[in-house]
Amino acid sequence: MELLANLGDGFAIALSWQNIGLALLGCFLGTIMGALPGLGPSNGVAILIPLAFTMGLGATPSLILLTSVYYGAMYGGRISSILLNIPGDEPAMMTCLDGHPMAKKGLAGEALSLSGIASFVGAFLATWGLILLAPQLVKIALLFGPAEYFALFALAFMTLGGVSSTNQAKSAFAAALGLGLATIGVDTQTGVPRFTFGEVHLYDGLDFLVAIVGLFALSEVFIFLETRHGGSDAAGRKLTIGKLYPPVSMIRQTTPTMLRTSFLGFIAGVLPGAGASLGSFISYSMEKKLVDKEGTFGTGDPRGVAAPEAGNNAAAGGALVPMLALGVPGSGTTAVLLAVLLALNITPGPLLFSQNPDVVWGLIAALFIANFMLLAMNIPMVGLFTRVLMIPSRILMPIVAMVSFVGIYGISGSTFDLLVMIGFGVMGWALRKLDVPLVPVILGTLLGNAMENNLRRAVTIDNGNWWTLADSPLSIALWTVAIIGFVLPVIVGARLKARMHQRRDEKGAVSD
């Protein structure tokens, strides 16, 4: 019952005019960002963070705006998957398989509205999952000391590689690179400058927002410039939608699928290292094994549309659980959301639930509200968003680049930060070409300081004994999971990942 009281408080916070307005704006922008190929949830949220700051929004309103963008992008990705057979963002790639054939059969409107409903079911159930699971995880997290936290961070990095790249060495490289970047600046414990090479601007360390916007948004602009992909993918195609409501029989037929895949997607989202992309992938694969008796999957089966959409939206909600309860995000976009919290001086984790319950419950209530808004936007108003697909990238990309610059300049007003951002953009482009995942780099720059502080605290408490890192049952368990999570994909995961990455569009290379 305490839960319902908390939720009630949350709704009281979320139902202010400002917050409703922000949720509406976030849902709208998120759906557009998800729909446009080349702008995914992580770059979308990344571009908006600096703006949320400079607008002087508080913690809860900023989070409401940005998570609405996140949920919105999960809805929006399906639009171009279905109409153009091009995933709008990475998690939507599985929706192409049955969504586009449905559209070819003249059932585009049915596919869009059905996937909208599936998205709603997935996100709605996952938000309930978040409410029920996060407080339990917090109880466990309260038992964590510095050594356990260090092990947990290691676990996050080691398991992240399992899905985000086909090559474990490259994800380890990416994580080390990110952690290394985080060590730049004045050492928080002893006050000596490290790796600053006498540059005063570096004493504060690199601003992770600068790194995120550069790596995600600016590198995307470079990819477009490189391929000179200036047109719109929808150019010259007729986007007919037709009827906007699916027949009741279709909903009835797909309901069990939606419920099963919501559950599966949520679990996939909670697991460290997995994100919405994996959620939609395993949802589709499992549904195909389970119900595809006549071999209709891949030819426009409505269940093949509902499964990945429910799965990826549920995974998006699931991914918020470890981010909020432990402070360890499992996917690219939740890493970016963590950056928001850190930049607002809020430490996620168990203390967040006891010290800032208004933030947590306000956010959760806002997620419910956003979900209903998104359902309304994505079924009756879906025609509006299909028009967005006609915007050619030669107009869109300059805007993206300039808004990124404005955001970063707005935070610090320093040219130095802009130059660092360009540097990160070039680095992001090169890393993407080399198939090095960017998410561990971001996670490294975000968590590096916390990870090092926990390490030093743990060892110092035990008078310099390094074995203290693995002497409680909890930390041994965490290390075991971490090592299994790192080694297992090398042995069995290669096949699964190869299959998943086969479908990966080059433009959607920022994994979520």
Binding site: M55, A176, D187, T190, L225, F405, L434, D435
Partner: protein
Amino acid sequence: MSDRIFGVFGMILAAGYVFAALAIEESFLSDAVGPKAFPLIIAAILGLSGAVIALRPDPEPHWPALGRLAELAAAVVVLILYAEMLPVAGFVIATAFAAAYLAWRLGSGPLETVAVGAGTSIGIYVTFHLILGLSLAKGPFGF
């Protein structure tokens, strides 16, 4: 080949990082671990993974032709110039040029180039500065 070069680069980076880490001046007041230990652990991982990448390279990525690389380099130069010129020329003028350049290089025609440049710059100025009150770079003309 790319991965071999990349791996070797990673190892050199790790070596440089170790070198810089060892050069950190320790303060007389230090904890049991000190400021060097964590960077050294990171360097070890960086070096090891670099070595693995070099020894077991992935298939060659698709690199753009030389002309496209020059295109990218030019864009980087333009963006650096933009960052440097921002406080000098003011937001509206600098942004109009940078956005127009990007639009042109992505294949816009002359009219569209001008429209994107002016539209982006004025649009952002109105939305973010006039409506939302974000402070943007002020040039000699105050905008």
